[in-house]
């Protein structure tokens, strides 16, 4: 079951400059584990030392926030898109 994970611009530098990656995974947690297994630098940007998703990083499955589904246990199926959306603040700066 191929699931596509969309990597946001600010985090691409930690993911070999890729904008997405595909994995065979049956839950969101499995897909993210494979992603951070492949790109170790990404792990500390997505997860705390305790292994929890950081609170300024939101994860969506097909447009729905996993916080309101089953969090990292949220099941995924073939063709699903997981999006990682971190907070960004730019707008006015030099």
């Amino acid at each position: 079951m191929a699931v596509r994970v969309m990597i946001p611009t600010p985090l691409r530098v930690y993911a070999g400059k890729r904008d997405s990656a595909e994995f065979r995974a049956s839950t969101v947690g499995e897909a993210l584990a494979q992603l951070t297994g492949e790109f170790d630098d990404l792990r500390r940007h997505l997860f705390t030392d305790e292994g929890n998703l950081r609170s300024f990083v939101n994860v969506y499955v097909n447009g729905e926030d996993i916080r309101y589904l089953s969090k990292e246990e949220t099941p995924t199926k073939d063709g699903d898109t997981i999006s990682i959306i971190p907070s960004i603040a730019g707008g006015n700066s030099r």
Binding site: T9, D65, S83, I85, S87, I88, A89, G90, S93
Partner: protein, 394 residues
């Protein structure tokens, strides 16, 4: 959801348009979705823009042109040469002028029938509520996390909508917070990232057209709120990827446990947002690395003396193309696997643009056993200021 905005009362609302205004706004007036009623709503609306930079430029221009009766502009910054690549309110002759004043002059010239008020001040927990009080809608076009949480909290405390937009390199996010029953910024992101984990625009860059597009979407949402028509972005996060030219949409929900808009509210007044975000200043401070340094002048003197110095440039290849000191290029991110290219018996001077990345490189190399290694203090920027002004700053 079409959301009505509660307008600030006090002055008597305008009931008519002058003949000149009718001519100016004729392309609005002939649309049934705006018409005379809508144009009068715009004329009686009061919108406060936080930031007059990248996002503030299209916002100010379009809202002034559309006839929003009162526009407030909050910015304490001055126009910088590097702003002109995207902050299209300003011209070259504005460089050095306060942004709020330069924008006020430009917008008043665009539409003399509206009132444009400049607030040349930094938005703080002390002045935010008073500043917001006189406006119906707040539009967030700022550039840092402390101000974004401050704008959110002040809007929730006062019950005012917050039209939110943010950008990074070629990606943008837009939504509307603070609509009754809708989510707020803290529902979306309960906490900011720790300092230094997410690069700022100054480090990451931003494609000049991007704030134009994102700010224009904010302007559209603002006008829809005023007119009370259409489907607001409230409850939806719009993500725009300019390179892929894709718009994607994500559902936003009100978090029942939100500390400011949830059922069990724990925040009842504005707090210290720099403390909340873990920063004391505009941008995330450089990691506090205590590494040996050399000033540009000392470096120049040693080169002139013929000292054997190996110059290591840890910037990216596209930065090397802008200007360089003929150093050996190894981008900071590639240093761990390319460390064998360096000779630890030679004295090495490491540099980047500002001295921050090269300090990290020196720290890394010292831990790897390099002893004769120095960081060029202030990087290429300081070299240009103190030694060779022919080297361009960027």
């Amino acid at each position: 959801m079409a959301s009505k905005v509660q307008t600030v009362t006090g002055t008597k609302p305008a009931q008519t348009l002058t003949n000149e205004e009718i001519l100016r706004y004729s392309r609005h007036l002939i649309m049934p979705e705006v018409g005379m009623d809508g144009q009068l709503k715009l004329k009686n609306a009061k919108v406060l823009l936080i930031g007059t930079g990248g996002l503030g430029a299209p916002l100010g221009l379009y809202l002034a042109a559309a006839g929003v009766g009162k526009l407030g502009l909050v910015d304490f910054d001055v126009v910088d040469f590097t702003n002109l690549q995207r902050q299209v309110t300003f011209g070259t002759s504005d460089v050095g002028k306060p942004k709020s004043q330069a924008a006020q002059a430009r917008l008043s010239n665009l539409n003399p029938d509206i009132q444009v008020q400049a607030f040349e001040t930094k938005l703080t927990s002390e002045n935010a509520l008073e500043l917001f009080q006189d406006f119906d809608i707040i539009v967030d076009g700022t550039d840092n996390f402390p101000t974004r949480y401050l704008v959110n909290d002040a809007c929730i405390l006062l019950g005012k909508p917050n039209v939110y937009g943010s950008i990074f390199r070629f990606e943008g996010q837009v939504t509307v917070f603070g609509i009754p029953g809708g989510p707020c910024y803290r529902c979306l992101y309960p906490e900011p990232p720790p300092p230094g984990l997410v690069p700022s625009c100054a480090e990451g860059g931003v494609l000049g057209v991007l704030p134009g597009i994102v700010g224009s979407i904010q302007a559209m949402e603002t006008i829809k709120l005023i007119l009370g028509s259409g489907d607001s972005l409230a409850g939806r996060l719009l993500l725009f990827d300019a390179l892929g030219m894709k718009f994607r949409e994500f559902k936003l929900r009100k978090n029942p446990g939100c500390p400011i808009c949830g059922d069990q509210r724990t925040i009842h007044k504005l707090i210290d947002y720099y403390e909340f975000c873990g920063v004391r200043g505009e941008e995330a401070p450089a990691p506090n690395l205590d590494v040996p340094e050399i000033t540009p002048r000392e470096f120049k003197a040693r080169l002139d003396r013929g000292d054997d110095l190996f110059i290591l440039d840890v910037r990216e290849p596209h930065e090397y193309q802008i200007c360089n000191l003929q150093g050996h290029l190894i981008p900071l991110g590639e240093l761990p696997r390319r460390v064998h290219e360096l000779d630890s018996s030679r004295e090495i001077v490491t540099h980047c643009r500002s001295g921050k990345r090269s300090a990290e490189a020196v720290d890394f190399l010292r831990k790897a056993g390099f002893r004769k290694i120095l960081n060029l203090k202030g990087g290429i920027l300081a070299w240009s200021d103190e030694v060779d002004s022919c080297v361009p700053k960027y």
